[in-house]
């Protein structure tokens, strides 16, 4: 969630609640004969309100399971989750009088701190990572499609190579299809291009022509030898396992040098195909970057959600035990 001016209302209200609670706690703490306790009226109030905020925050998960229910916009629920969830920490601290108490309450307090902390961490990630992803991965695709796109990139690279070096006995994939990232491709993919049909063309019963592929020349075995070696040893290996460390093509600066060097070894007729290969490698590298950013963007939930569930369960247990006994 991006922290922008639209959050101002929630921030001000939360600060107001925090301020009022703090004033109330200070006054209560000074007046309490035995000091602030969780079981006192004020302490219980803080506890109930704090737990209510935690319950509301936890309900966000349930709210997301029924996205079309008209129970308030998801955006409002998310903001409530953030701000009320954040507020629950000081309120619970006020509830306990800044004492962590026995085993259960100590565990609860640490759970709460870590949960809120992971939530804040997640909020920070959600604030910055989308911007990073937008600027660093212009060829972003849908996360679940990354593997498909990689396969298509590999096939495209094979075709580009074979168009100038001749048959190379490269292993073919079983299926071909249009790339999910086709709209953001740096170069036209004539095989998958969709002709744009204007009303005039429809009226005339015609369809727009697809741009023909650029003419390329077949290199001799001697001329293509450096490119073949480079492709088989580095490019294809990178396209097959882009996440493997230590690959020259995985580094944005090194790839420039690599292809610049390769350009000097090849005749001009091959420069077009070489440029295509570079674009393909760039895209593959961007997909790796996208995967990493995606994991950061969503990976923290693997900590936050289980902790939240544990917090709710133990919090309920604490409430029952404390009130009954």
């Amino acid at each position: 969630m991006k922290m922008d001016r639209t959050q101002r209302g929630w921030a001000v209200a939360s600060l107001g609640i925090l301020g009022a609670s703090a004033i109330g706690y200070v006054a209560y703490a000074h007046q309490a004969p035995a000091g602030p306790r969780g079981g006192s009226v004020v302490g219980l109030t803080f506890g109930i309100v704090g737990f209510a905020f935690m319950i509301f925050a936890a309900l966000l998960g349930a709210r997301k399971r029924v996205p079309t229910w008209r129970l308030g916009r998801a955006q409002a629920w998310m903001r409530g989750h953030l701000w009320l969830g954040l507020l629950s920490l000081p309120l619970i601290l006020f509830h306990g009088g800044f004492h962590f108490g026995g085993t259960l309450t100590r565990v609860l307090m640490w759970l709460l701190i870590v949960t809120v902390g992971s939530g804040v961490f997640g909020a920070v990630l959600q604030n910055y990572v989308p911007r990073m992803m937008t600027s660093e991965v212009p060829l972003e695709t849908i996360y679940d499609e990354i593997e498909n796109v990689r396969n298509l990139l590999r096939e495209e690279a094979d075709r580009a190579m074979e168009s100038i070096c001749g048959p190379m006995d490269l292993q073919k994939q079983a299926s071909e299809g249009q790339r999910a990232g086709g709209y953001t491709a740096l170069r036209p993919i004539s095989a998958a291009a969709v002709p744009l049909r204007t009303s005039a063309a429809i009226s005339a019963g015609a369809s727009a022509a697809v741009a023909p592929a650029a003419e390329t020349m077949l290199l001799s075995e001697t001329e293509s030898a450096p490119l073949r070696r480079f492709y088989l040893e580095e490019v294809r290996a990178f396209l097959e396992q882009p996440r493997r460390r230590g690959q020259r093509l995985g580094d944005a600066e090194k790839v420039q040098l690599a292809f610049a060097g390769m350009k000097t070894l090849l005749p001009e007729a091959a420069h077009g195909a070489l440029g295509d290969l570079k674009d393909i490698c760039d895209e593959a590298r961007q997909l790796v970057r996208q995967e990493r950013l995606h994991h950061w963007l969503h990976g923290w939930l693997l900590v936050h959600i289980p902790l939240s569930l544990a917090l709710m369960v133990l919090g309920a247990v604490h409430a029952l035990v404390a009130l009954r006994y």
Binding site: M1, P138, T141, I202, S203, H294
Partner: protein, 721 residues
């Protein structure tokens, strides 16, 4: 031809004394006495014109005479094979061969091009004269006859055949000198002219200028149930009486007689085809096989425990607004299907599959033989000839007037109030008009003199503005136009063009004016619709004129009226929008979080509610349409042919299989589960008041925007007026 005058004239031809009736031409006099004179422009059954000059004879005068037009004179002495005559003929042939595309089509196919044969007989070798530099071109527009102007020697035989023998008066001459040629009507392509493809010009032509198009590869796959008929057998049937026998013989294989047993499927909805059917005997049942049910959009607490799968809810459970009880589903047959009971019957004399045959649209319904059926199945070239034939045309039109016209008239909401007697009057007075693809039906600025109802095909309504043409709407079967011009200042406010083979019901201006006078409710209804259309058109025009073009906009974004835009700076790629869309539409998402990108925004792949909705063109059952508001909707009787998905340039329409329960025709009264493809696209969740994708986005990243305002603000132009 020689006169019937019994006075005989004596003359000498090539030293032989002959006697022929007075008035006989020299050519005929020679022919009657076994002397052959070569000719290219003369045929015995046509009026001689003497244009080719090949039949010249030497009468001893200063110049040679064309024998086909020169009447005999008493005491005439002439020679048909003197040195002078032979030299003249050879030079003429050499000149003609210089421009002739030898071997021409006729010589290639049948080896009997008269020009090439005569040239060979005269010993003409390679012509000494240069070939013409520019080609006169060819005309391949006719379904039956190929025109090669380069092979034409301007003998006029085709013109005389068309005028004198067939009395069609389609062909004529155009141009002069070296640019002269034959023309159809006012130099229209042959296929677009009034030519009925009788073939008379073709059989008259001495060269390969007019030849029959090969039927190789166009014959309908025969099969054991198909019966090929000769021209003679077809002529015994009333509907083929006036069809040219030459044409039928030359197109044998393009029409077959088929027999269907009771229960047999003749054609299935959604399948692509290229033939039409004409029922001779028996009855057939036409229906849309999928049950009429809504692709239900979920929403509200009641959906919580329901399995989010592809389920179609019965119509009675989900009545939609704007549904009229008398609503009909337009199909490619002489009847429309009632919405509540989409079944009808076809019988002898009914033609169905016309749109599939002429325009290659998918079959709009399933036709199954109710009894044993005998029907003709024909290709487009045969149907085209049949539809131009007055007898057949009259029968089809009569069927339409009897069975479907009233339904169509009543289908216009404003006409629902018309009295039965006025409907009967209209049924008799309306004109049924046929338009070719691309034909302008009414032009902007012309005087409005009629009101039109679309019977078959698609009509484009567009308006000119400085800088181009703005498409306002696509109209299909059951839609109407022309009312704005008639109610307004009497001038057409838009241009209406036939997109494919269109048939219209034309109501004259007089009838229209009488109607609005007699039925005030009709007038107010039409006026309301006209005002609404004008307001919408004005809004569209304002949009086109006010927004500056930009490289992003040139990607078709300005065609959109509503874009789903994702702010990538805020979007956490959580797919809540996609999940919400699927949740609202039976588990099938109608948006893909991928598409055009610019700056920090993504235009998701989701229906853009285009101003020029190309998706609507060609729907065989008219199920994709636009409501009075913004959104393009796909009605529940979609047959899943996929044409709209192919037409959408942005990939915003997809086909998805749904499980439906349909009537089991093998076990009547029972239902069976089948998988039915249906097209889906974003409907803006109008029944939920706000798109679910926008409502469910927790990060304020998804927005439905008006591109005009959005791009203007983005580019710093401020809110667009």
């Amino acid at each position: 031809m020689s006169s019937t005058n019994t006075t005989l004239v004596e003359l000498t031809i090539d030293g032989k004394v002959v006697r022929v009736p007075e008035g006989t031409t020299v050519y005929d006099a020679a022919r009657l006495n076994g002397i052959a004179i070569p000719t290219l422009c003369h045929l015995q059954n046509q009026t001689p014109v003497g244009v080719c000059r090949l039949c010249v004879v030497d009468t001893g005068a200063r110049v040679l005479s064309a024998s086909c037009v020169r009447p005999v004179e008493p005491g005439m002495k002439l020679s048909t094979n003197s040195e002078k005559v032979l030299a003249a003929q050879k030079t003429l042939l050499e000149l003609l061969m210089a421009d002739h595309p030898a071997p021409c089509a006729r010589q290639q196919h049948s080896g009997d091009c008269e020009l090439e044969m005569l040239a060979k007989q005269a010993g003409v070798g390679t012509p000494r004269f240069a070939k013409r530099v520019s080609s006169r071109g060819a005309d391949d527009s006719s379904l039956a006859i190929a025109v090669d102007h380069d092979a034409c020697i301007l003998c006029d035989r085709c013109i005389r055949g068309c005028d004198e023998i067939k009395k069609n008066f389609v062909l004529g001459r155009m141009g002069k000198g070296y640019a002269a040629g034959i023309a159809f009507d006012l130099n229209a392509p042959m296929g677009d002219s009034t030519c009925i493809s009788c073939g008379e010009c073709m059989v008259s032509c001495p060269t390969g200028a007019l030849t029959n198009k090969s039927v190789v590869g166009t014959a309908i796959a025969a099969g054991t149930d198909a019966q090929l008929l000769t021209a003679g057998e077809l002529h015994r049937l009333p509907v083929f009486t006036d069809i040219s026998g030459t044409f039928l013989e030359l197109n044998r294989g393009a029409i077959v007689k088929r027999r269907y047993r009771k229960g047999e499927v003749i054609c299935r909805e959604g399948e692509f085809g290229s033939t039409a059917f004409f029922i001779l005997e028996g009855a057939a049942r036409v229906a849309i096989s999928s049950s009429i049910a809504h692709v239900k959009t979920q929403g509200g607490p009641q959906g919580f425990f329901k399995r989010l799968s592809s389920v179609l809810v019965g119509r009675e459970e989900d009545q939609r607004e704007e549904e009229a009880r008398e609503r009909t589903i337009p199909i490619d047959a002489p009847v429309d299907l009632a919405y509540g009971n989409p079944v009808a019957e076809l019988g002898p004399g009914d033609l169905f599959g016309e749109m599939t045959c002429m325009s290659f649209y998918p079959r709009s319904a399933t036709v199954r033989a109710k009894t044993d059926v005998v029907a003709f199945e024909m290709l487009r070239n045969v149907l085209d000839i049949m539809m131009k034939n007055k007898t057949f045309r009259a029968q089809i039109d009569a069927n339409y007037r009897r069975r479907a016209l009233e339904t169509h008239l009543r289908g216009v909401p404003m006409f629902a109030e018309l009295s039965p007697d006025f409907i009967e009057h209209l049924k008799g007075s309306v004109e049924l008009v046929r338009c070719a693809p691309g034909q302008v039906i009414a032009r902007q600025g012309e005087t409005a003199d009629s009101f039109f109802l679309v019977r078959i095909g698609f009509v484009k309504i567009s308006e000119e503005y400085p800088g181009g043409e703005l498409v306002l709407a696509y109209l299909s079967r059951g839609d109407y136009f022309g009312e704005i011009g008639l109610l307004g200042g009497g001038v057409r406010t838009a241009t209406c063009t036939a997109l494919d083979h269109v048939e219209l019901v034309k109501i004259s201006g007089d009838d229209f004016r009488e109607m609005v006078q007699r039925f005030p409710s009709v007038r107010s209804g039409i006026a309301a619709v006209a005002a609404e259309r004008q307001a919408a058109n004005a809004e569209r025009m304002k949009t086109v004129q006010s927004v500056p073009l930009d490289k992003f906009l040139s990607q078709g974004l300005m065609e959109a009226q509503s874009l789903l835009v994702l702010d990538l700076q805020k979007c956490t790629r959580c797919d809540a929008c996609v999940n919400a869309c699927a949740d609202a539409h039976d588990g099938v998402t109608r948006l893909v979080r991928e598409g055009l990108r610019f700056e920090g925004f993504l235009v998701a792949t989701s229906c853009r509610q285009c101003r020029d909705p190309l998706c609507m063109v060609g729907c065989p059952v008219g199920s994709i349409r636009r409501r009075n508001s913004l959104e393009v909707i796909i009605e529940d009787w979609c047959i899943g042919c996929g044409l709209c998905a192919r037409n959408c340039p942005y990939g915003n329409i997809n086909l998805h299989p749904f499980e439906v329960r349909v009537e089991d025709l093998e076990n009547m009264g029972r239902k069976k589960a089948v998988v039915q493809q249906k097209a889906t696209s974003c409907d803006l969740c109008t029944h939920l008041k706000e798109p679910s994708c926008v409502y469910a986005c927790p990060h304020d990243a998804a927005h439905r925007v008006d591109p005009r305002k959005f791009f203007a603000e983005l580019k710093g132009h401020g809110p667009a007026s």
